[in-house]
């Protein structure tokens, strides 16, 4: 007998959510979705959640099990039980609950819409034939095109938890789908837009979205690919790009990070307002004795570091 501890919420009845335990014998080979269906169909019909294809392609049944987002149809239920035979089920995070496990996807879709999620070309398409694209070019967008818009990455994104303005992993993965599509002709415009606040450089690189993605789409890797294109396209006039470039330069020059130079270079030497904003932080660090050494020293084997850069053609 397993216990499914499900977070219930129905504002029509009571304003606060609560947890309800359902005991169930898990049938052999049953997925989490199978079990939740059994609970709904045999124990409590009022339990609400979304589901449709039950083969991990429609993206409807995202929810949290034991604190992490997953597709309920994709996981064997018994693999989720803790030592006491319990699994805790909650709605996806970073979105407002509507009822039980159903959350409001509006902000999610609004952000997908923001990245102009469609192919943009200026040239007329060839008549009576396809545009060509090599298998190598196809591979650049192969993984990202597996995204099913389930919202699992959005749910568990650590940046979104503190910054509503962040586009989020799914929308950025969708953006990569076009940034790296050999047929799209708005690459520069796209990476310029995506380099603004709320875009690629606001990602904290925690890679939680890679862990939660049920498909090979894996947004963080796609975000890195956009960053690479943005830097290659010369879109450097923003804190994120300056930060990345300063980081690279510092390590290349000395084998370690120049923590005094980094914030200044990230802000930009001519960004007076931004630099002034750094002053109070710097003063507080000074008072707490946390200022890095004023004179930046190289590591002993900096030659080896430079050799790595050379190997990477940088």
């Amino acid at each position: 007998m397993a216990t499914f501890r499900i977070k219930r919420y129905n504002p029509e009845k009571q304003p606060e959510p609560y947890y309800e335990d359902f005991d169930l014998d898990i049938p052999k080979g049953a997925t989490l979705l199978d079990c939740i269906n059994l609970i709904k169909w045999t124990k409590d019909g009022s339990l609400s959640y979304r589901m449709s294809c039950r083969s991990a392609i429609c993206g409807s049944c995202g929810m949290k099990a034991n604190g992490h987002a997953l597709l309920a149809c994709q996981r064997q239920a018994d693999s989720l039980l803790d030592k006491d035979g319990t699994v805790t089920i909650e709605p996806l995070g970073n979105m407002k609950p509507i009822k039980d496990l159903v959350v409001d996807f509006k902000p999610f879709w609004d952000k997908v819409n923001k990245v102009q999620p469609y192919l943009q070309t200026s040239a007329e398409a060839p008549v009576g034939k396809e545009r060509t694209q090599s298998p190598e070019q196809f591979r650049l967008i192969d993984d990202t095109s597996t995204c099913i818009m389930c919202g699992n990455c959005y749910s568990d994104c650590n940046t979104l938890e503190v910054d509503d303005n962040f586009l989020g992993p799914a929308a950025l993965a969708k953006a990569q789908r076009f940034v790296c599509d050999s047929r799209d002709e708005k690459t520069l415009e796209r990476v310029t837009e995506l380099s603004k606040p709320g875009g690629i450089w606001d990602c904290t690189h925690c890679a939680e979205c890679v862990e939660r993605c049920p498909k090979p789409a894996q947004p963080f890797h796609r975000i890195k690919e956009i960053m690479t294109v943005a830097l290659e396209e010369g879109v450097h006039n923003n804190n994120g790009a300056r930060h990345a470039l300063s980081f690279t330069r510092s390590v290349k020059a000395s084998g370690r990070l120049n923590e005094n130079q980094l914030p200044v270079e990230s802000m930009g030497y001519f960004n007076i307002k931004g630099l002034l904003e750094l002053v109070p932080v710097g003063l507080r660090m000074l008072l707490k004795g946390k200022i890095p050494p004023i004179f930046h020293k190289s590591i002993d084997d900096v030659k080896d570091v430079k050799r790595i850069y050379k190997e990477l053609n940088q």
């Binding site: 429609c58 469609y118 298998p135 196809f138 095109s145």
Partner: protein, 555 residues
């Protein structure tokens, strides 16, 4: 969505879905979309046409098939121009592979998620045209509004709030999918519940060729989840419990790549003869000889499905599969322009159009070939959209008595909420699915079909005494599941009614008591009409034959 993109060129569209646009079941189509591009081998629309007609066991309307296969290459190019992702040949063209019943490698594909690629490409275009296409996600369609022999809109409700509304429209296009959920073993999504076809039927529109349900040869054992035919297209073997490639006996020439009806029957015959694996109800799909690299390149999703759902890695072990209800060849009768017709003469119901699985043009006849369904959805989606646009441009805005229409749906809600019965809807649903799979499945006969109809009718009675637990308005998925079950119970009756009447075997419909095709008596489409007092009436409609006279069908 393809239809909406056509209409939005000149008029505004409301796109209504009970899920989200990207969650429709077209996304589950894996293997490919057919078109005679000739990118990997010479091909022609004539061959595509013949394969489709032969595959459909000569029940297809050949005038429609001709236009359909001729339109194929251009709709593929249009999809590509929209941004749809396709796997490519070394010289950058759209790659094509072999598929059951097709005599040439004709399936354009995007790895093993072609439907997903097309669905998302269309959704991208819908987002691009958001000024003229307004999307209503998670709205449920209850009924058509028909006044003076014209379709004037639909009655719908918002799943989130339970609010009932009327959407008045100059034209309505249905793309509401199939009804595989009436069966126990099915590839279909939980959403594939006959809502659209039943709404049409309840308005007096007949359903065409409802008896023809396709059973896909490779459904995951017990679950029915789809393992693409592409697995066989890429060279996979089917093995019985003795380890034999049993297709030798049934289709020596095409082997595993015979059409689906033939392969599904072969599998079921092996299973029924006790030659399933370990004597159980499944056989093996063996991909091991393809090698891990090929599997990862061409069939990655299938491999992952096996690993996730049954812990079988198809690169190392064979997959347990069985026939699974997959596709409805029948549906709402339309002409080749996507306009709904209500009789054998082709009389249109003005303002109402349908495309895709919910419609019956009929291009698939008695059995659809793999990769022809995505093509159907795109070709006839476009055509239905174009027809709707032309029609709507020349018709005045409707003025529907909304409160009367709303009241009808609200009374359905109230009826369900008021039921103080003790019957479990879950039991009724399970019994229906079980009855349909065992009495109206791969093999059928008069005795089982008669029983099937009786049992389904008794379930319809029990359905009215069901027990409801959720009487709230907010995101009440129980309410919608009950409405869907009601739709499926009626559909199940219609399928078995039409199956009982067709005393022959043709394509996906196999009668053990009439194992031969009978062109003298049954070379016609069936039309099932509703009659007074919940009854059913059968009429027929001639098949359009142009280029290919019916011939024996061997592979």
């Amino acid at each position: 969505m393809r239809a909406a993109l056509e209409v939005c060129k000149d008029l505004d569209v409301a796109l209504l879905t009970k899920v989200y646009p990207s969650r429709s079941h077209s996304g589950a189509a894996q293997g490919g979309i057919a078109a005679s591009l000739g990118n990997s081998e010479d091909d022609s629309w004539e061959e595509h046409m013949f394969d489709t007609i032969k595959g459909g066991d000569y029940l297809s309307d050949q005038d429609a098939v001709e236009e359909y296969v001729k339109a194929a290459p251009n709709v593929i190019y249009e999809l590509e121009h929209m941004g749809c992702i396709f796997s490519r040949t070394p010289d950058g063209k759209i790659a094509q592979r072999s598929f059951g019943g097709h005599s040439r490698p004709r399936a354009c594909f995007s790895a093993d998620r072609t439907g997903h690629a097309i669905l998302h490409a269309l959704h991208e275009q819908v987002m691009k045209h958001s000024r003229s296409i307004k999307v209503y996600s998670e709205w449920f369609m209850h009924s058509l509004v028909i006044e003076d022999q014209q379709c004037r809109g639909v009655v719908v409700s918002d799943v989130r709030t339970g609010a009932v509304e009327v959407i008045q429209a100059k034209a309505v296009v249905f793309a509401t999918g199939g009804y595989g959920r009436a069966f126990q073993i099915t590839t279909n999504a939980f959403a594939s519940t006959a809502d659209g076809v039943l709404a049409a039927f309840n308005s007096g529109i007949p359903l065409e060729d409802a008896e023809f349900v396709q059973f896909h040869p490779s459904g995951l054992y017990r679950q029915g989840i789809l393992f693409s035919e592409a697995a066989r297209g890429e060279g996979g073997y089917l093995l019985n419990g003795l380890g034999e490639r049993f297709m030798e006996k049934y289709a020596p020439e095409r082997m595993e790549l015979a059409p689906r009806d033939i392969v599904a029957r072969a599998e079921q015959s092996e299973i029924d003869a006790g030659r399933g694996v370990n004597g159980e109800d499944f056989i093996h799909l063996d991909l091991r000889h393809l090698g891990e690299a090929r599997i990862m390149e061409r069939l990655p999703q299938i491999r992952q499905l096996g690993i996730d759902f049954i812990s079988v890695d198809c690169a190392k072990d064979p997959l347990p599969i069985q026939p699974t209800a997959h596709y409805s060849m029948g549906g709402i009768p339309t002409d080749k322009f996507g306009a709904v017709v209500v009789d054998a003469k082709g009389t249109r119901l003005n303002g109402f159009f349908a495309a895709g699985e919910c419609a019956c043009v009929s291009v698939h006849g008695a059995n659809r070939l793999g990769t022809n369904s995505l093509l159907d959805a795109v070709v006839f989606g476009q055509r239905a959209g174009r027809s709707a646009l032309e029609y709507a441009k020349n018709v005045a805005s409707p003025s529907v008595n909304e409160s009367r229409e709303k009241t009808r749906v609200l009374s359905v809600f109230e009826d369900i909420f008021q039921r103080e019965g003790s019957e479990s809807y879950n039991d009724i649903r399970n019994e229906m699915k079980n009855i349909m799979t065992h009495n109206c499945g791969v093999f059928r006969d008069a005795e089982h079909l008669t029983q099937c109809i009786e049992k389904i009718q008794s379930l319809q009675v029990r359905y009215k005494k069901g027990k409801v637990t959720d009487k709230g308005r907010l995101f009440n998925t129980e309410l919608y599941e009950i409405i869907e079950l009601g739709n499926m119970l009626k559909m199940a009756e219609i399928i078995s009614f039409a199956a009982l009447a067709r005393k022959e075997s043709r394509g996906g419909h196999f009668r053990s008591d009439f194992p031969k095709r009978n062109d003298v008596d049954f070379l016609h489409h069936s039309l099932v009409y509703p009659t007074e007092g919940d009854g059913l009436e059968l009429k027929t409609k001639p098949v359009v034959i142009t280029r290919h006279q019916p011939a024996e069908r061997t592979y």
